[in-house]
């Protein structure tokens, strides 16, 4: 039986961008407002999962040729890497640094190494969620 999913596909096309933008916004907002790596990653993952639901695996894979296992591994590497990295600056394991820098147009912005750590979290979440959903759905 062929399901008529024209509506789903059309809606997805627009909505996915909103979801992905929201995910990225949440990721960066995390330092001062609700959001953060975990939730940002989860939103991104749900957007990607929605794509997989609306289209099929091959089509999505053409657009996003990532191996999501590697994305997850990259995330863990980033999270543990920033942790180990602090050793090279002669500070305890997992120390984070932050500062405020004046950027033209945007004004004063805060920069922090936590962002890198959180990026690791986000990538892991995206990678793992998509890997799990894909492997279960592909399993025959």
């Amino acid at each position: 039986m062929k399901i008529n999913d024209v509506i789903l596909r059309t809606v997805t096309k627009t909505i996915v961008f909103i979801i992905l933008t929201l995910g990225i916004y949440l990721f960066f907002a995390g330092h001062h407002a609700p959001g953060g790596g975990f939730i940002g990653g989860l939103v991104l993952a749900s957007g990607i999962v929605l794509l997989y639901l609306a289209y099929d695996i091959e089509t999505v894979h053409k657009g996003m040729p990532f191996d999501f296992k590697k994305v997850a591994a990259l995330g863990v590497l980033l999270a543990t890497g920033t942790a180990i990295g602090s050793l090279f600056f002669d500070v305890p394991f997992l120390s984070q640094a932050h500062s405020y820098i004046n950027v033209p147009i945007f004004g004063e912005m805060s920069f922090s190494t936590v962002t890198l750590f959180e990026a690791g979290v986000a990538l892991t979440v995206v990678g793992v969620v998509v890997t799990i959903i894909l492997s279960i759905s592909e399993d025959e």
Partner: protein, 803 residues
């Protein structure tokens, strides 16, 4: 001291690079040339510090790691770690050079060198770490990398069995060592070895001192293959020969010896330490040499000989600990020279045993067998290999003009001196030391002769050999030749080594002694006719006699089927633990999800409710609570309705959607109570889990009505009610709970210390980032677990990969 940090990290970094680079490097050249540069550079880097170390300097640097738990990455370079550092990098360079010619490019070289570099980094970490926890981590990492290397040819059953045996025994020892370290921490309040040594007077009276001593010794004995844990070493010979030469004769098995030497200043004055280390060492010395004689496989013979020589070094450190008992005195050199001999023999053993292992590898490589029943008459065909064998074996047997002679003589001097010690209630037992040592040396002589004569003399048996024997290529001969140069060179110039390398190491073993130059005897090859020389002569004469009459007394070994008894015992233990754990696991892992939920919830109720009742912290005070609004009540009723309906739902999808109602309602509550972070997370998690559930339901049969017995149903109901009651109770009681530090400090700290105004996220990403980091790792492992379980299971009809 950046050098030491580089020394530890460089192998790991290169090991990480190999998988990325090997495809490109493979086309250019053998991967080994790239890897060879690592130990070679490190060797040169370390060697630059020899003059400063010889002057008595030490280098320490602390990188704070987890300072709140006293775990710091402290590197410490002194005389003792210098010896090991040079051995690891020096022998490492030679072994890698050798392996380039030994392993063909068809083997999976990237795995091999990756493991080898892992091992090298771990081993350097063991000897350069001052912090016990870091040392332990590296210690276990050497076990793991040794496991991987032994099982390198994992298609062979014997390799896998040998690897597992080595892993089981050494990790068991490592765990007991960890317990010992923790006891030392309790006694001393520090993980730093130097601080423990400085506070040894205080620690000595602690009740945990002796248990810690014994546990740490178990760790050292298992790693250094001491009796009765020696059984793993002969089986580990399934590894490729470069690995045997490197890990199982020159470096890893000496980690236990390193530990004993390092902890001598702490435990040295104890009678238990003296007896355990020296007697176990002595038994190992005898048992190893006695069993080496009966071996027919050249590598097995060398394995037992390594066991025996490790026992010798261990025994010497035990004898040397008498020096700690007496402290600094006029004639303390009488006892401290045992430790000196131990260090000296440690180096000598690495040189001649490394050369011998490589020699056996060459024979195996060029002839196709290493069974002495099939070998013979190779002298004319492989003259260089023969020379290497003679130099190595004569040094092992303790003959001049090779370095083994010097250390063997010093060993005899040390065991003779122990007769005069009036401590540790030695008395007449002291006489046993020279006797057993002498008998063991005779056997050492005999197996050394067997090694040469059965391989190189006698008649050539080409029909029993797989290949036509011929001399090995120069590259393969180069490493053992360099080692042989050391074997001879150390004999002629022993005091160079003594002054620059051994003397500072003696200072590390006897830190309380004011001057180390007095501890360092001047090594003479000839010191007149004395008891030691007569003992050596006796060894040669009786050794030759026993070797000639080998066939007539060999049946003696039939009485001693002990070696197999230890192995049988080990196998039986393994089988028993496997069977009983299978039985136990099968009893509770029924495959029924309901059962698992029962375990989880019963445990949850017992633990949480149990704690609150036990600690008497259940206290309610509704007076201060805010008023309940009507919309909150509505939400609660919606949730209750959904929860109750779920129990009676007919289809899975209905139940799932009702569960979603519950989840989204909770999110609403979060919004009402102004927790936008939680609300957001709850909403997204709920959506994703709902999608996941719907996916999974595709594979499940329709929901069947619960057909279980009434009693079972009631018990389920009771458990559910208890769980609900517990959660409610905890929710109410937690308002007044004051057993933990309040988290309100985070409100101020988050902006000032972490520079973020989102308190939740600064806690997650900064204050408690360790938890988050490990959670991320766990998440990845779970994801990979799901992937491997669903994707990589064998297809129907395919056989299991394991055989």
């Amino acid at each position: 001291m950046v050098t030491v940090l580089i020394a530890i990290l460089l192998p790991f970094i290169c090991a990480a690079l190999i998988p990325l680079l090997y495809r490109r490097l493979r086309r250019i050249t053998h991967l080994g040339w790239f890897v060879l540069s690592v130990p070679f550079i490190l060797f040169l880097l370390l060697a630059r510090y020899i003059p400063q170390i010889a002057e008595g300097k030490t280098f320490i640097h602390t990188y704070e790691w987890v300072p709140s738990f006293n775990i710091n990455f402290s590197t410490y370079l002194d005389g003792l770690s210098m010896i090991f550092g040079l051995l690891i990098t020096g022998v490492g360079s030679l072994v890698i050079l050798y392996s380039i010619f030994y392993l063909s490019t068809k083997e999976s070289l990237h795995h091999f060198y990756c493991y080898l570099l892992l091992f090298m980094g771990a081993m350097l970490g063991v000897v350069f770490s001052d912090n016990l926890m870091v040392l332990y981590t590296f210690w276990e990492l050497t076990s793991v990398s040794s496991f991987l290397l032994i099982a390198f040819w994992h298609h062979r059953k014997a390799s896998r069995a040998g690897a597992r045996k080595a892993m089981t025994i050494t990790v068991f020892g490592g765990l007991s060592m960890l317990a010992g370290f923790l006891m030392l921490y309790v006694a001393s309040g520090t993980f730093s070895i130097r601080e423990i040594i400085a506070n040894v007077e205080v620690i000595r009276d602690h009740t945990l001192f002796i248990p810690a001593l014994i546990l740490i010794l178990i760790g050292a004995f298992t790693k250094s293959a001491q009796f009765p844990f020696h059984i793993w070493l002969p089986d580990a010979m399934e590894a490729p020969t470069p690995v045997s030469a490197y890990l199982h004769s020159a470096t890893m098995v000496k980690a236990g010896i390193y530990l004993v030497a390092r902890f001598s200043p702490v435990f040295g004055g104890e009678a238990v330490w003296f007896w355990l280390v020296s007697v176990i060492g002595l038994i190992t010395l005898f048992w190893g040499s006695f069993n080496a004689v009966r071996q027919t496989d050249l590598k097995a013979l060398l394995a037992f000989s390594t066991v025996s020589q490790l026992g010798l070094i261990m025994c010497l450190f035990g004898l040397g600990s008498v020096g700690h008992y007496y402290g600094y005195a006029e004639n303390s050199i009488l006892y401290t020279q045992a430790s000196f001999a131990a260090l000296f023999h440690l180096i000598n053993h690495s040189t001649f045993k490394g050369a011998l292992f490589m020699m056996v590898g060459i024979v195996d490589h060029e002839v196709g067998t290493r069974d002495i029943r099939r070998l013979g008459g190779l002298m004319a065909l492989m003259p260089v290999t023969f020379t290497i064998a003679v130099i190595g074996s004569f040094s092992m047997a303790g003959l001049p003009p090779f370095n083994g002679f010097l250390s063997k003589e010093m060993f005899f001097a040390a065991v003779l001196a122990i007769r005069h010690v009036e401590a540790f209630s030695i008395t007449d037992l002291g006489l046993l030391f020279p006797i057993v040592a002498w008998v063991a040396s005779i056997f050492t002589f005999v197996y050394s002769m067997i090694l040469i004569s059965r391989t190189f003399f006698g008649k050539l048996q080409p029909e029993k050999m797989d290949k036509k024997p011929h001399e090995a290529p120069l590259g393969m001969l180069l490493s053992p030749i360099i080692l042989c140069v050391f074997v001879v060179g150390i004999f002629f110039f022993p005091n160079v080594l003594g002054h620059y390398i051994l003397e500072p190491a003696m200072a590390s073993i006897y830190p309380t002694f004011p001057s180390t130059s007095e501890l360092t005897p001047h090594i003479h090859a000839w010191h007149g006719i004395n008891a030691e020389l007569l003992m050596t002569l006796g060894v040669i004469i009786i050794g030759i006699f026993l070797f000639k009459t080998l066939n007539s007394w060999k049946p003696v070994y039939r009485i001693f089927s002990q070696r197999y008894a230890f192995n049988t015992y080990y196998n039986r233990m393994l089988e028993f633990s496997e069977n009983s754990s299978t039985k136990l696991t099968n009893r509770y892992m029924t495959g029924n999800l309901t059962h698992y939920f029962v375990y989880i919830y019963v445990f949850f109720v017992a633990l949480i409710a149990g704690y609150f009742i036990w600690s008497d912290t259940i206290a309610f005070d509704f007076a201060k609570d805010s008023t309940i609004e009507s919309y909150e009540l509505i939400l609660v009723f919606v949730m209750m309705f959904a929860a109750v309906w779920m129990i009676f739902a007919k289809g899975r999808v209905t139940a799932m959607l009702l569960n979603g109602v519950l989840g989204y309602s909770i999110a609403f509550f979060f919004v009402i109570f102004r927790a936008p972070d939680l609300a957001l997370t709850q909403l997204v998690v709920e959506s994703v889990t709902t999608a996941l559930f719907l996916l999974c339901f595709k594979y499940l049969p329709d929901l069947m009505p619960d057909a279980s017995h009434k009693k079972v149903q009631w018990s389920k109901a009771v458990i559910s009610i208890f769980v609900g009651a517990t959660v409610t109770l905890v929710g109410l009681a937690v308002v007044h709970f004051d057993r933990f530090e309040p988290v309100s400090t985070y409100f101020n700290d988050s902006y000032e210390l972490a520079g973020g105004s989102n308190v939740v996220n600064t806690i997650l990403g900064d204050f408690r980032a360790f938890d988050t980091m490990l959670e991320v790792v766990v998440l990845l492992i779970a994801g990979l677990g799901v992937y491997t379980l669903t994707k990589l299971k064998p297809r129907k009809g395919e056989t299991d990969h394991e055989n």
